[in-house]
Amino acid sequence: MVAQGIFLGWGQFTIQLGNLIVIIAMVVLFVLALLLPFPGGRGRR
């Protein structure tokens, strides 16, 4: 049988833990992509 999954809820709002992790991972990756220096990026024309 397929597992039910873990759901988190705040009032009317509910979200599956796996979906929440994917969304947080995307936001973290986006912020890191903006902040982290690109290797070999300096000194290019």
């Binding site: 995307m26 690109f38 290019r44 024309r45």
Partner: protein, 233 residues
């Protein structure tokens, strides 16, 4: 019917005209460039290629699943593993595509005559969502049955349920492994060709370095001079 070619020989058929137009829109040095502007050396420019790499694995793993069939990927350990990597490469594909979308949205990447590039990106996203949804229907378990019977109500409500029947496993299998991958592939190829033809969009603060934006500004300025728009005298 015929047009003069630069070398002096005449173009007499549609293949020649197509070749000439293709070479003019996308010369080889634009199609396969060796260098990119310095602002491309940023992690935010990596996610478009990340999406294509993930899509490549989605297609390869899908081909392996198609070669061996459900009895293999539902039962054998290796088949189950490939089936799982097919799912996880789709997850990566969507994660990278959404980050690519965020980056391009806040970069206003439709600037400089790149509207069609933006539109084909939106189309790629929408067609990919439909393709992924049809994948959920092919799990051949209670989960896919539940999703199909929820989706049929929405599709019947918009009037396409009789033709696009999500409860018809054979039809949905064909859409998922033939029609929709062809559509995603075609839109993605067109999107990449447009990126090559118009160049990678610069960040907002580097707009003056982009030749397409400069050309548009010059054209607008010339139009303003011609019409006398903005003339206060």
């Amino acid at each position: 019917m015929s047009a003069e070619q630069g070398s002096g020989s005449r173009i007499v058929s549609w293949t020649g005209r197509f070749r000439e137009r293709s070479l003019k829109a996308l010369p080889p040095e634009k199609l396969l460039p060796e260098t990119q502007p310095s602002y491309v050396a940023s992690w935010i420019y990596v996610f478009g290629m990340g999406s294509i790499a993930a899509l490549g694995y989605v297609i390869v793993s899908g081909c392996v699943l198609a070669l061996n069939g459900p009895a293999w990927y539902h039962v054998s350990a290796f088949g189950h593993f490939i089936n799982s990597t097919h799912l996880w490469s789709v997850e990566l594909f969507f994660m990278f595509m959404v980050i690519h979308l965020w980056g391009k949205f806040w970069m206003a990447s439709w600037r400089g005559g790149r509207a069609l590039t933006w539109i084909t990106g939106v189309l790629a996203f929408v067609v990919s969502i439909v393709t992924a949804f049809t994948g959920y229907l092919l799990q051949t378990n209670f989960d896919s049955e539940w999703i199909a019977f929820q989706a049929k109500d929405a599709l019947n409500a918009v009037g396409v349920g009789a033709w696009f029947n999500v409860a018809n496993l054979g039809q949905i299998l064909m859409w998922h492994i033939v029609l929709l991958p062809l559509a995603v592939g075609a839109v993605v190829v067109l999107h990449v060709l447009l990126v090559r033809a118009h160049g990678v969009v610069p960040p907002l603060e580097a707009a003056e370095t982009d030749s397409q934006l400069r050309n548009l500004q010059l054209r607008d300025a010339a139009g303003t001079l011609e019409t006398g728009e903005g003339d206060l005298s």
